[in-house]
Symmetry: C2
Subunit: 131 residues, 2 copies
Amino acid sequence: MTLLEDYVELIADLLKEHGEARTTDIARILGVTHPTATKTIARLRREGLAVSRPYRGVFLTEAGIALADRVRRRHRLVVELLIAVGVPQESAEADAEGIEHHVSDVTLSAFERYLKKSAAGGRSLGATGKP
Amino acid sequence: MTLLEDYVELIADLLKEHGEARTTDIARILGVTHPTATKTIARLRREGLAVSRPYRGVFLTEAGIALADRVRRRHRLVVELLIAVGVPQESAEADAEGIEHHVSDVTLSAFERYLKKSAAGGRSLGATGKP
DNA sequence: TTCGAAATATAGCCAAAGCTACATTTTCGT
DNA sequence: ACGAAAATGTAGCTTTGGCTATATTTCGAA
């Protein structure tokens, strides 16, 4: 189940890296068929997060860009937190995709504090690089 | 969006505490209307996780009980992990409800290891009781 | 330049999870 | 014992997120 947030995040990435976000690429990367992507993009438009013209790719509105930024930051923090407590990178990346949508602001702040402390001097816990 | 796993977990709780699991209670606790609960219970039956007779409550099959155990354990670990990294208990409980369904076995094992280490001697990180 | 392949769109289907409205069965109080 | 209230069930609608099949548009290569 792929959520609007994932689409927005991916579209932002594609726009930054390639200057355009094409329906087919979005579908392929998210692992859905292109009609599914098309339908969701229509919903993004309806909700004021993106604009698109037929056969001309997708672009984000201000609201879409703002959402993408928030989502990306949250995603990054979740992955880092998971790695910091010892989750293998691969699992961290994979699980974060599902987890991130359920992390509240309060929890996110806690993650941030933890990572800061952890970076500062917490050497006895989590992933140390040594088994 | 309430998943099968949540129903199974709740039904197990109700059965343990009250000896019965009634549709109305399930609906009320999960915050959905009773037709929604009824429909999901039908799905539990279809998938071999529960049995029920009209007007006579719901019971879990062996498979249902096994699932409930796994879900409960995972839920507990997720809450404990969140608290261990400094998430306030209330947020931990609330967010765990959504997060737990996306935690893989690998990640869960990592949580377990972290909590063990943390309990053993990791005193410098996470919730210490002191701000 | 034009034609075929690739990209995109559209139509229509499905299941899940939610709802309201209505029907039926139990249960409980008098 | 009976009738009303509570519990449960059923019907049918909605949205979301999938799908396949089919139509259309764009684009690149001959």
